[in-house]
Symmetry: C2
Subunit: 314 residues, 2 copies
């Protein structure tokens, strides 16, 4: 049965460890496309929201490598937009080619997306997300921070890095065009990297140097277009509790209340599974009974949709 | 009277000499938006095709600055897609904000675009467009060329650089989505930098390392969506003949035949005005009587559309 689905695709669904070249990432995009096409072929209305962690990190390192008045380093919002360009291109080409090869007549479109965040978000008072290069020393980091007006912190014993805020997404500026296109039968790639973070000012939208969790943006997208299903694809087959303990248990069908309980008892890693679970809860609890979130792996997306595997929160 | 219009916007409509920062380019985008909004407000169906010369050059220099297996230099097609992301973001934000400020309810969308070129295009046998950094010497250039499998040439006495092919655009892959959106009242930004160049293979579309003239792509776009008007905006108010001679004359209303004659007598610079004139002729001559091309400056776009200034080819 056809329904409206938002798929959140991890940034490492495209970039594997040590395989960061465009050719490697494009090969990976072809694999991703092959795994998604059977689902797409069922005739659902689909929006793909992809991550950009490794890719925007790479762009930022390149941008930081030259910073002259003739060729200045681009700020994070522009780098995010750049990553929407490159990743969107790789994905739309790979998926478009695969659909054509399988005789499926479904056009693909990548929509450049801005995501609104609240300038009063507490995240702006406490930048916490490390990005860009490691500095050689604390003093070098502090000098850079002063000159460029940003915040640096020590990153898990690995050295000093710039940190940026990770505010919560509030809405997707390009929601109307995305909905227009899925209604017309397009497969839409949008809100890449969570979308370019913008705040509302008296002069209109304005980019901010921040990163947005792409699963949270996918949940906001799914809510705004009133999707039935949010699929968060990651590297594991299901969410587990008692992680890495003898009684580790994979969750299959769980309620919002159960998931909330596991959050409260800190079952999930703050940087990894927690945001996915919180995004799932946020999406489902707004329309109980109608919505579900599936957290599972890309290579089992078919079985997950069929309810055979993955963690299904409803 | 409302009509369908393709606007080709020079890459330097965003980046002025020595003002390459994102802030400067975004300020420039706001100026560009202010000049375009009165035209947009007339209710035309509009597609904006922007150049990316200075921007993709800057991206490429950054990309060339680091080339390791962990963080490899991105190829030209991916860099082009990146520039569609950043420039599209700046433009769509600036135009969207300006429309809102003036109380005009018109949504803006940037569509990531691939442009098909012919793998048998003679340009692939004779790469001629210089891009990226200057090498310190001919031998360094030749070593890089051998290692990275590309072609280098001496660039107008300024040093050795990589050269890439500049094939003719044949068609726009994302034409259906672009047409869908303008029909629905969207202002569409598409085929940035002429579009990412792709060739058709047995496996589908595949990116190639080439650059496409954005005016030529704009002409192909205008033809494919059957626009009435192609507006090529540049830094001069009109096309002139006898350039920089005592009898220099600005052309106001000219026929395709007259323009073709001036081309044959080599009135126009190969790297500057010639491609604009050729793009104009290609677009107009396919549907005489119905189509026109205007070549003029951004700050007089209103007068040009009204037929008061600019060079009008019909």
């Amino acid at each position: 049965m056809a329904s409206r689905i938002v798929i959140a695709l991890g940034g490492n669904a495209l970039q594997k460890q040590g395989e960061a070249s465009a050719i490697d990432q494009q090969k990976e995009a072809v694999q991703t496309a092959r795994q998604l096409v059977p689902l797409i072929a069922q005739g659902h209305q689909i929006v793909i929201v992809h991550g950009n962690g490794p890719q925007v990190g790479d762009i930022l390192l390149h941008e930081e490598a030259i910073n002259t008045s003739e060729n200045p380093t681009m700020p994070l919002d522009s780098c995010g937009a750049m990553s929407q360009g490159s990743i969107g291109y790789w994905l739309q080409q790979a998926i478009g080619n695969e659909l054509k090869k399988q005789g499926i007549d479904m056009p693909v479109a990548t929509v450049l997306t801005q995501t609104v965040v609240d300038s009063a978000d507490v995240a702006f008072q406490n930048p916490s997300k490390p990005i860009g290069p490691f500095y050689a020393s604390e003093s070098e980091a502090r000098t850079a921070a002063e000159a460029r007006k940003f915040v640096v912190k020590e990153d898990s014993g690995r050295g000093w890095r710039r940190v940026v805020p990770s505010p919560m997404p509030k809405s997707i500026v390009e929601k109307p065009v995305i909905e227009e296109l899925i209604n017309k039968g397009y497969l839409v790639i949008a809100a890449g990297g969570g979308g370019v973070p913008v705040v509302e000012t008296d002069d209109g939208f304005k980019g901010v140097e921040a990163v947005i969790d792409k699963d949270m943006s996918a949940a906001v997208m799914a809510d705004m277009i009133d999707a039935e299903t949010l699929i968060i694809l990651t590297s594991v087959d299901a969410v587990t509790i008692h992680f890495r303990k003898p009684d580790e248990t994979a969750l299959h069908r769980v309620t919002v209340e159960e998931m909330q309980h596991y959050c409260d008892t800190q079952e999930f890693g703050a940087g990894s599974m927690m945001p996915k679970v919180l995004a799932s809860i946020a999406f489902v609890q707004k329309k109980r009974g109608r919505r579900k979130t599936i957290i599972g792996s890309l290579d089992k997306v078919q079985q997950s949709i069929a309810g055979e595997t993955g963690t299904i929160i409803s």
